[in-house]
């Protein structure tokens, strides 16, 4: 009934080729086709930010893209940031500052913050609040997240 489309998606530095339905959301493609379950789905209407990934370096809600649209593009997910024994400085900072509780929203925050910190290496707390105003956290009240981002900025500014 529905045609399948061939896609080539570069994700976390690895090329993936698949044959998929066009209506398959990028969030579902990452989680269930590629087994990269670190990207979480919170709402599927583009509000909560849990599914945020980078597409060509820009933070994007993966629940609002069809996977076919990512063909020929570069996607970065939380799995591309670091490993438990080799954490990215931003992951270290979240750990040290207790910037997560249940951890469900966390990958979305991290991916939103990577491009933000690149462009804003010395953000104020207000800057950070605005930067994360598209991500919902129900557990932390955001305070430790903001602490974590300031700590990450410090860590990432060291040469």
């Amino acid at each position: 009934m529905e045609d399948l489309f061939n896609v080539s998606i570069l994700c976390n530095g690895k090329m993936y080729e698949r044959s998929i339905e066009p209506r398959l959301l990028l969030s579902d493609f990452l989680r269930h086709e590629l087994d990269l379950t670190g990207t979480h789905v919170g709402c599927e209407h583009g509000v909560c930010g849990a599914c945020t990934v980078l597409v060509d370096g820009l933070p994007v809600r993966s629940c609002l893209m069809f996977a076919v649209q990512a063909s020929g593009h570069e996607v970065t997910t939380v799995e591309g940031l670091g490993e438990p024994d080799n954490l990215h400085p931003i992951q270290e900072a979240f750990w040290e500052a207790h910037g997560l509780q249940c951890g469900f929203c966390t990958p979305g925050f991290l991916m939103t913050l990577i491009p933000f910190l690149k462009e804003n290496p010395k953000p104020t707390r207000e800057d950070i609040r605005t930067a994360i105003s598209g991500n919902i956290c129900r557990c932390t009240g955001y305070q430790h997240i903001i602490d974590a981002v300031q700590l990450a900025a410090q860590k990432m500014s060291k040469p």
């Binding site: 599927e44 209407h45 583009g46 994007v60 809600r61 939103t112 105003s133 598209g134």
Partner: protein, 294 residues
């Protein structure tokens, strides 16, 4: 919530796109940024049989000054590109100031200028701003192309004059006159929510510092952005003063607009906010006009 099945087309040129639209008409929907369309598809509120993806067509994303001191924006230009663009900052400061108000960072990575205009959400800032800046849109189809003024483009809730076979491809904005100030004021529940009420304003003063021209365009007060023509008339030709501003605000709230109620605000409260925000916008615009837009 998963979208219903659709036939997916990814044309490489505008001509192909026009052909597809000619063939499918109302059965097809154009996919630009997807930030408004895809949520509706996920909710199954919208179930197009055919989805035509515009993202692979080169040459639709640009911001350029034109020969008359105005600006042209390609329909597939992403919001974040407009947000960071120095031509916009210099030539269309009202638009520049508006961009951070639009949704969130992630939405602005993908959302497009043309997509926002064509979707015509009554709360869309860019729609109101386009009218306030006397913008015009170029619509293209197999039958040819036409220009439509922003002021005449929006005709109903999520409804524009776009025919089923037409694609919005470009917006152009004329040069802003000297001694023009601008403002955008919104009240939203949370920082990035759709505004309960918003106003985009511009005031142009003549050499004697009287109001030569004004634009007051409101969002979230009707089925589409409403230009307060009568309120503008109250201002035109007069010396700026608290009284004249109050009269304009009152006219905008009671004559030009007829806001309705929804779960976030009643029409009474909206009318009150129209009044309040108009005054604030006029004062801000006046200050900037006096400082020659600085």
């Amino acid at each position: 919530m998963k979208p219903a099945p659709f036939k997916y087309l990814a044309p490489g040129t505008l001509e192909e796109t026009a052909d597809h639209l000619d063939e499918h008409g109302y059965d097809a929907k154009l996919l630009a940024g997807g930030q408004s369309l895809v949520p509706m598809m996920n909710f199954r509120l919208v179930q197009p049989e055919v989805l035509i993806d515009l993202n692979n067509i080169p040459g639709l994303s640009y911001i350029r000054p034109d020969d008359e001191g105005g600006v042209r924006i390609g329909a597939m230009t992403r919001h974040y590109q407009v947000e960071r663009n120095s031509v916009i900052a210099e030539h269309l400061p009202l638009m520049h100031e508006t961009m951070p108000h639009i949704a969130t960072v992630q939405i602005r990575s993908r959302g497009t200028f043309g997509g926002s205009i064509a979707h015509a959400d009554p709360s869309a800032e860019l729609a109101a701003v386009s009218i306030a800046l006397d913008g015009e849109f170029r619509l293209q189809s197999k039958r040819g192309e036409r220009w439509v003024k922003a002021n005449e483009f929006f005709v109903g809730m999520f409804t524009t004059v776009l025919e089923p076979d037409e694609i919005l491809v470009e917006a152009r904005f004329p040069k802003i006159p000297e001694r023009t100030g601008w403002a955008i004021h919104e009240v939203a529940r949370r920082s990035h929510d759709f505004a309960i009420v918003g106003v985009t304003a511009s005031l142009t003063l003549d050499k004697k510092k009287n109001i030569q021209d004004a634009r007051l365009v409101y969002l979230s007060v009707g089925e589409y952005p409403i230009r307060a023509v009568q309120a503008e008339g109250v201002l035109r030709g007069h010396e700026p003063s608290d009284d004249i501003f109050a009269a304009a605000a009152d006219t905008a709230a009671s004559r030009d607009t007829d806001p309705s109620s929804d779960i976030h605000a009643t029409s009474d409260f909206r009318r009150h906010l129209i009044n309040v925000l108009t005054l604030r916008a006029l004062h801000t615009a006046l200050e900037r006009a006096t400082n020659n837009g600085k």
